[in-house]
């Protein structure tokens, strides 16, 4: 674990306003955590809205949740958890200068993310088929609760915002995957990998909460 002066073993030059590569790494990590705080607060608003209305219309929320299949949700949860593991592993191997293992784990992470989106697509199509749309397009005729549409507003907004972050995450993973396969990361420098990793774990964290409150209530 050495600190470098200007150029690391892998050829990365730290920016001029940092003392060395380690200084840059620490600052970047801190910056990413601050950004994650903003994501937590943004999603948090949706969770707050969800809980406030769930207390008001408990039966309506139960009725809405009955349309969700906990098996799909569970599989998606496991898929994301595994992707978090492989993401952490890719960093682990980069730190050990094992380029091949790093890249392999990034690929698996990407595949898991893709699997998540496929399952999401299946769930969404099933709901659309029944007329369960967000907002004005909601056309399910056999609702017991008169405002069942609101449940699905929350469902689509929360999973939609989360899903868009999965897609963004996939883009970021592809970016670091390309850089990793070019040999740009090593034990001295893997900052982008760390940053993308933290973002990806956040995506997992949000789903860890979404799963029970949407599927298991």
């Amino acid at each position: 674990m050495s600190t470098d002066n200007t150029v690391t073993a892998g050829g990365h030059k730290h920016a001029h306003h940092f003392r060395d590569g380690l200084h840059e790494f620490e600052a970047s990590k801190f910056g990413v955590w601050l950004f994650l705080a903003t994501e937590i607060l943004m999603f948090g608003g949706l969770f707050v809205g969800y809980f406030l209305y769930q207390s008001r219309y408990p039966e309506m929320f139960v009725e809405g949740a009955s349309f969700l299949d906990w098996r799909y949700g569970s599989v998606n949860t496991i898929v994301l958890l595994i992707s978090s593991l492989t993401m952490a592993l890719s960093i682990h191997y980069a730190q050990k200068n094992n380029k091949k293992a790093c890249v392999t784990n990034l690929v698996i992470t990407l595949v898991c993310a893709g699997a998540f989106m496929v399952i999401k697509y299946l769930e969404y199509s099933h709901k659309f088929h029944l007329g369960l749309f967000p907002g004005e397009a909601f056309s399910y005729a056999d609702a017991v609760a008169p405002n069942l549409a609101m449940y699905f507003s929350f469902y689509f907004l929360m999973t939609g915002l989360h899903g868009s972050h999965v897609l963004i995450g996939m883009g970021l993973i592809i970016w670091v995957l390309i850089r990793a396969s070019k040999g740009e990361f090593n034990s001295e420098y893997y900052t982008p990998l760390e940053g993308v990793g933290l973002f990806w774990h956040l995506v997992d964290l949000i789903w860890i909460y979404l799963f029970p409150i949407l599927y298991l209530i």
Partner: protein
Amino acid sequence: MASSTHNYLNHEKGLWSWLTTLDHKRIGIMYMITVLLFFAIGGTFAMLLRTELIAPGETIFGAQLYNQAMTFHGAIMVFMVIIPGIPAFIGNFILPLHIGAKDVAFPRLNLLSWYCLIVGAAITFVSLIYHGSDTGWTFYTPYSIETDNGTTWVVLGAFVMGFSSILTGVNFVTTVHKLRCKGMTFFRMPLMVWGLYSTAILQILATPVLGITLLLLAAERILGVGIFDPKLGGDPVLFQHFFWFYSHPAVYIMILPAMGIISELITAFSRKTIFGYRAIAFSSIGIAAVSFFVWGHHMFVSGQSELAGVIFSLLTMLVGVPTAIKTFNWVATLYKGSVQFQSPMLYALGFLFLFTIGGVTGIMLATIGMDVHFHDTYFVVAHFHYVMVGGTLMAIMGGIYYWFPKMFGKMYNELAAQLSFLFIFIGFNVTFFPQFVLGAMGMPRRYFDYLPIYEPLNKISTFGAYMIGFGFLIGLYVIIDGLLKGPKASDNPWGAKTLEWQTASPPPHENFLTEPEVTAGPYEYR
């Protein structure tokens, strides 16, 4: 020291070098130009409003256009001027210099934040094709859902501009934590930095909630998701909770950096160390913290419960305490100081007077009984203009004149600057003091028309607005004249002690020729 030969302004040439710059100083100047431009546009809308209000009935336009103009005046001033105004313009330029750093932590994110502001503003202005928005900058539901115009564009524009604020916040917090030079402990930082730091924390914690609120509003308008729609069992007051959870801390995003500037100006132009450095530093953090607990004071008459109202009222009183501490400390700094009345100091003194009035009237509004009478009247309009214009804008002007020689290596015309101040200061009071009276008399805000009894005071107020406009035109002349023909400024024309004055005017690209090492506080005048 050869200061005019090689500096950040001539380090690279050409427009493209500016648009792709990673230099915090250049990014600060780019923000300066855009913020001043937006201020001119927002100010024009203000002049239109005041012109309409010079007499009852329709003067230059009717209700529809008035509502659009007042929405744009508010949205532009809030999102494009006052929120980015100090942090992104002055803060970007000064923060690294104040802590002896070569740049902010994330220069590329810094540039991105500027583009977010530009793109967000462009999206907002596109809405004008669809008659803009007429909801007021607060976008209250359900009207904001139903109104058939470009409101979605304005809302999405504000969303994008929010990213500008968030990126600045992330950058500044990291910069303060990680890039302080040798010897620069937290308690040796200039108070400007404490102000920017507390602001940055607010930008990180509060702005995302605005983000989701605006997204939800857009989703309501586009998809009809109905979370705030009573027809679907939604609660329109919940929109207000979400909106003000950001927008109240937002006003502290507006004032905390201003207070930072005032600390700098008061100490430099009294040639005396600041009174109660730690008290001011901690009160910045304290104000930032308490600001999150008071948002319901915007909602006393909205349908919020009495219990919630009482809690919010009590907590709001609390925020006056750290604010007052600062004010007392500034005044104490003046005492037995060697006070110089140059234009930056005039603005600082103007701030003390105007912000105190604004702050005290805020406490009046925090009292529920009084707020029931004052809510949605001109009393509120006067209150927030006293704190935002009399407060933040005064500080921006003081900061511009104070740091003008540092930023551009030239001096401006002091006499013209003082004349500008006079028109702005007097004009401001002529415009807004009558509005306290109008509000107490019951004149509602956001109306293009009013009862004849309000006419005399409205005429005075409009006259004052023209004085302010004239004052700012003189100010514009001062800046342009200074840029084009100003005499060369020395490295430290004010004899101030903070680090930016220990390097050339304008600074070199790398800020300091050798990394500074700090062994004392920032205001060691005696």
